[in-house]
Symmetry: C2
DNA sequence: GGCCACATCTGCAACGATGTACCCAGCCCG
DNA sequence: CGGGCTGGGTACATCGTTGCAGATGTGGCC
């Protein structure tokens, strides 16, 4: 059905291999020959069969990206950045939604999905380092985010702690004294939740303020999680003059609930988030947040993964680029 | 390096083909043999090489999805739904971002991208039906949305006109008399913009109201486009008591600008959108909008495309499922 | 003139799976 | 008892490319 190299070869009066050489820019081909081949390709409308090439070369030129769900804006924006970074380096991205389920995450690490990709970018949420190492195959793997940390794994970190501290410090500088934190448990110390909570505590300590566990409310990292948590907080009667959502979705949910209940933002209660989603800029009031350097994270992760794929040495050195963050002060917490 | 069927065959003491038969659930295999093969697979950790299978079978079991950019929430949410619909039918989705550029859209229709997929779901934005037909290859293609319409192409429509009319009627029922429309040119009659504008006009006519072109403001379908358009509208001095953003992003941008300028929503000016993004529910005030039945669109599009892929008859019948819409009345336009 | 070096091009085998054809044993049936 | 059928399995070619190992031709140089 489709046009193959053989057809092109016949049309151009050369061998199949010469067509292959032309396509792969082999150096020693007479210009005239090359032109004949190119003309034939044009005329017949030949397209390389990437499947065949993959089989032969053992490379698919695709990166796998495993995340919870594209309908979550942070992941969608990150995916977009990653796809662009990959494309500029000659790779495509195959996205897989794990739905935040441990079984699914494990399956993806070993399953057939791997055979379609040369390497994996993985945002683990439900499984830990041991499980990842146990389940992962031999192909390159780079972790994103920071729910998991292990010296045996490549990963690209973001400055969770520092950035969270910066947000907290900003709220304190604005005169807030009782800052509620949404999206963590009191005891958390690892993962994005734990590290951001640590940053919060560090900023409090630096300001000589006491840490009150009653202000730390666990919940799903989604808008409705933030709204629910805020409702619970308001109902509980605990006093607070600011809310720090450990991600923007939480903060936006919180703000929605606060306004719904007639609390003034930021006059009565300031709100701040973490991620700098596009929508945060257009919220009303616009959301103060911290940009974790998403584009840079995407670039670095893609670069690191491709390096692993293309480098001959199989020795997995640990490398942890730290992407820069930037505080975005807006109306919700001036 | 990797374990192949050959290795499994040797380990199980059967022929390579028998392993293949076991994997493909060929009926006539003695249970004992089957078990031996399965044990060998388990022991060696064999995984089918999907690339090889694709080459041999001529099917990749992947659907291509071409959209402007995943960072746009509507596309991200649609992509998520499409991936789920495809996965439940045994297909994966390979996403390609066109960036809304005509050249890129054309390239994707013919380029190597096609050889990686069995069929394409395409949301055309920058090119028209003629260009699509000229550029498209022989593989199945299903269009989404409604920027393009042509009887020679398969597509899944949404009820742009009817849904837009419903939104407009709702605003009118709320007593609004001067409804600005963001995201269309006065003369538009085709594409999502044109059709939604037509719906708007139809609702006005049904209510016996005059249509005023001065209320129709063209702009990019993004939050900042909506904000800019609203700023221009306010500056122009044209009177209006409601804003209908032709998508939610526009409406949210508009609402942001209105509130920024101290206009009360919905008391002074009501705001309504189109899409029912997740974030619209949590905007403050929450956004009145219309849900176009995204999940159903995704299901239908995937179903139609897979039907085209798997059906033997190559005759391209025109089929246009109409997904149902639902008005979501919220605070911004009660 | 002979030989080497190099540019240019070719043929064959392979990547790892599946389709097709075929083989063999057992069994039923006339 | 022979022929046909059917269950259970195998061998080989093949999908469209690329790597490897030549084969050919041309010019330069001693």
């Amino acid at each position: 059905m489709a046009v193959t190299m053989n057809d092109v070869a016949r049309a151009a009066g050369v061998s199949l291999k010469t067509v292959s050489n032309v396509i792969n820019n082999y150096e020693f081909i007479r210009p005239a020959t090359k032109q004949r081949v190119l003309d034939a390709i044009d005329e017949l409308g030949y397209e390389t069969n990437l499947t065949a090439r993959s089989l032969r070369s053992g490379k698919t030129s695709m990166l796998g990206l495993v995340l919870a769900d594209l309908s979550i804006p942070y992941y969608a924006e990150l995916a977009s950045d990653i796809m662009k970074a990959a494309l500029s380096r000659g790779y495509r991205v195959l996205v897989e939604q794990s739905g935040n389920e441990a079984e699914h995450e494990k399956a993806v690490l070993q399953g057939q999905f791997r055979s379609l990709t040369d390497g994996l970018l993985f945002i683990p949420l439900a499984i830990d380092a041991e499980q990842i190492i146990a389940a992962a195959g031999r192909k390159p793997l780079v972790l994103l985010g920071e729910f998991v940390q292990d010296p045996r794994l490549d990963m690209v970190l973001i400055q969770n702690k520092e950035a969270a501290a910066a947000v907290t410090a900003h709220l304190l500088a604005g005169g807030r004294r009782r800052i509620a934190v949404l999206g963590a448990h009191d005891g958390d110390t690892t993962g994005s939740n734990g590290l951001r909570l640590e940053g919060y505590k560090a900023a409090l300590a630096a300001a000589g303020m006491a840490y009150d566990p009653a202000l730390v409310i666990p919940c799903d990292w989604r808008r409705d999680g933030g709204a629910d948590a805020t409702a619970r907080l308001l109902d509980s009667g605990v006093e607070f003059d600011a809310v720090f959502g450990l991600n923007d979705a939480l903060a936006l949910g919180a703000m929605h609930e606060l306004l719904l209940r007639g609390r003034k933002v930021p006059e009565e209660i300031a709100v701040a988030g973490f991620d700098d989603l596009d929508e945060s800029r257009f919220a009303s009031p616009s959301l103060t947040t911290v940009a974790p350097g998403r584009a840079e994270i995407a670039e670095r992760a893609v670069e690191l993964l491709i390096q692993r794929i293309e480098s001959k040495d199989a020795v997995p050195t640990v490398q942890r680029p730290e992407a820069a963050f930037e505080l975005r002060v807006r109306q919700s917490a001036p």
